[in-house]
């Protein structure tokens, strides 16, 4: 298993390098940092001084090397737009995005999986059909629309929940959390639901499809032929086999959540990394964009690795190795 981890890490390196290269490429060929940082009027000396300071007079590969080295140390340069270190900006906003993504993921799992099992077992019941119809709507509605609808109903019409912002947050050193205050939690509800609805419907349909597939298999037929109880078949045999592929998908979902958080953060003005990214794209703030790109790449590599490990732990066929019979 150790060899497995190492090999996966080795495979990830070229990906990270490519991403790093693209990120750096953005820096080198795109936009003009001089213009950004000095504005329209600047003297030649100012320009030259800045060039030296930013190291822009060095050869390409040297700049690339500097860039990677800095990146490995968490230094992503300064935001063109806000003139603050990118890494600081990202760290400030990480807790907001993380808490949102986690809440949405929890919501999607806690509600989505049981619904999937239910609609898989009782596939022809009216309730199942209704739930499925609703889920199809969930898949078709873009997350921002769901957010807007939720705002309309719960914030504008009913006035129960806030329509933007994060509420009060408690500062715990490097992390700020909204979990500990009532207003923080209230502010979390609508964004979490609107972010989590899509993965929820996805989970539900996935679990259901897997369940239906499993229930048609030979070993279920054999279990029935042995008189095993309905309950043992559904919640023992079928469920266990259903969860194995579902785990991978759910694990990979975290990635999608980070991505879609961008949209939800825009709708609810949630002060997270996603909102930062959108603002950066609109103003061509390259350092932020390239830092984000790298961060995401690393995140995804890590997630993929963790999911593979999880798969290993759950499916005995992979664990003990193949064959060995006689």
């Amino acid at each position: 298993m150790f060899a497995f981890i190492v090999s996966r890490l080795l495979q990830a390196i070229p990906v990270l390098l490519v991403v790093g290269f693209i990120s750096f490429g953005m820096f080198a060929f795109v936009g003009d940092p001089i213009l950004f940082m000095l504005g329209q009027d600047f003297t030649l000396e100012q320009k030259e001084a800045l060039i030296r300071q930013l190291g822009l007079d060095q050869p390409f590969l040297v700049q690339y090397g500097h860039y990677l080295w800095a990146a490995l140390h968490g230094n992503f340069g300064m935001s063109y737009r806000l003139a603050r270190p990118v890494s600081t900006l990202l760290l400030e906003r990480l807790p907001a995005t993380a808490e949102l993504a986690l809440s949405a993921a929890a919501f999607a799992m806690i509600v989505g999986m049981p619904l999937g099992v239910y609609t898989g077992i009782k596939r022809d019941a009216l309730s199942s059909r209704l739930i499925l119809m609703f889920s199809l709507v969930g898949v078709s509605l873009p997350p921002f629309l769901i957010g807007i609808l939720l705002i309309l109903i719960f914030a504008v019409l009913l006035g129960w929940l806030p329509s933007f912002g994060r509420g009060e947050v408690v500062n715990l050193g490097i992390w700020t959390t909204g979990f500990l205050t009532w207003s923080g939690l209230k502010a979390l509800v609508l964004p979490a639901i609107s972010l989590g609805l899509f993965p929820l419907t996805l989970n539900m349909r996935l679990v259901r499809a897997e369940m239906l597939e499993v229930l048609r298999s030979d070993y279920i037929k054999f279990a029935k032929a042995r008189g095993i109880s309905q309950r043992a078949i559904y919640f023992g045999h079928a469920l266990k086999n259903t969860l194995v592929p579902v785990i991978t998908i759910v694990g990979l979902q975290i990635g999608g959540l980070i991505a879609f958080a961008i949209v939800t953060e825009s709708v609810f003005q949630w002060p997270g990394m996603g909102l930062l990214l959108v603002q950066s794209i609109g103003t061509a703030d390259i350092p932020v964009m390239s830092a984000y790109l790298q961060l995401i790449a690393v995140l995804f590599v890590v997630i993929n690795l963790l999911v593979d490990l999880l798969y290993y732990a759950v499916d005995p066929r992979l664990r003990i190795g193949r064959g060995g019979g006689h």
Binding site: L136, S140, A284, I286
Partner: protein
């Protein structure tokens, strides 16, 4: 040939499925309304001369103090919402269809080449595909758009925004086609008609595109339908975030974004109706895609 289609299993399953028929009708209406919008829309919302700022924020016709002329109300500049929706849908569809077409062209080609040639070429191509597949497509589209925005000078960018979007969304969507087509190609590669063609001496390219391609198109069709829904949503999302189509040539996403500003002050129709139109369209596409997948699935027959 139409007769054969009407007789086929696929059409039979279509007729029996009310959802599929309903979706097709809704979609047809949307298509006609949007493609022919210059002729069918009640007003031209982008003809600046015809706008009267006194008309702004008219509530929809069915509300108590609504304006008769505006079925769905007007926005902050007095533009008729219904007309804006029709034009906006046109743009959304344009981008979505072309993006999918681009993704299909790229993805199917990669899949065919990888599946047929195998070996090193296949490993490299599939690696790229898999890596890209592990990133959410919206992120990729966003970043491609961002780079384009940074690279192109402002005026050029605004002119080309439409095509930048098509490219960005298309680029984010090709891997799923490549994956499927590669799998199918690998299966077809072992079949006798391929071997026969090789023996006669037909070149690889011809074999791939004339012989194998028609046989692997089935699943591509299903994915294409669902992919269209995704592409339209992607464009809407990008426009909503402000990095898509500008207000001068708005798509549904742009309309929703602008409208959100007025949500809290009570003029909900400016954002909700475009949203409903978008949702209906994508829902109809998804329903059709679902039905198509079940109808073409040999195992469920």
């Amino acid at each position: 040939m139409l007769g054969r289609f009407l007789d086929s299993d696929v059409f039979y399953s279509f007729r029996r499925n009310p959802l599929a028929v309903g979706s097709a009708i809704v979609l047809a209406c949307i298509l006609i309304g949007s493609v022919f919008s210059p002729w069918l829309a009640p007003t031209n919302p982008f003809d600046l001369a015809s706008l009267n700022v006194m008309d702004s924020f008219n509530p929809p016709a069915f509300m108590p103090d609504g304006a008769r002329a505006n079925l769905l109300g007007t926005d902050e500049q007095g533009r008729d919402v219904l007309s804006s929706i029709m034009y906006g849908t046109r743009v959304s569809l344009f981008v979505g269809v072309l993006a999918v077409a681009f993704a299909i062209t790229l993805g199917v080609t990669v899949g065919l080449v990888a599946g047929y040639l195998g070996g090193f070429v296949e490993s490299v191509l599939m690696r790229i595909t898999d890596v890209q597949l592990s990133f959410p497509s919206i992120l990729i589209a966003l970043l491609v758009d961002g780079i384009a925005r940074a690279v192109l000078p402002r005026e050029l960018h605004n002119e080309l925004e439409l095509y930048v979007l098509i490219f960005a969304i298309g680029i984010s969507g090709w891997p799923q086609f490549a994956r499927t087509v590669r799998g199918s190609t690998m299966v077809e590669r072992g079949k006798e008609y391929v071997m026969a063609a090789r023996v006669i001496g037909i070149g690889s390219a011809r074999i791939m595109f004339s012989h194998i391609l028609p046989n692997v198109l089935g699943p591509v069709l299903v994915i294409a339908t669902l992919s269209l829904g995704q592409a339209i949503l992607a464009e809407a999302t990008l426009s909503f975030l402000g990095v898509g189509l500008p207000p001068t040539e708005p798509s549904l996403g742009t309309l929703i974004r602008i409208g959100q500003n007025f949500l809290l002050s009570g003029e909900w129709w400016v954002t909700i109706f475009p949203g409903v139109a978008l949702a209906l369209m994508v829902l109809a596409i998804n329903l059709l895609g679902d039905w198509l997948r079940d109808a073409l699935n040999p195992r469920l027959r």
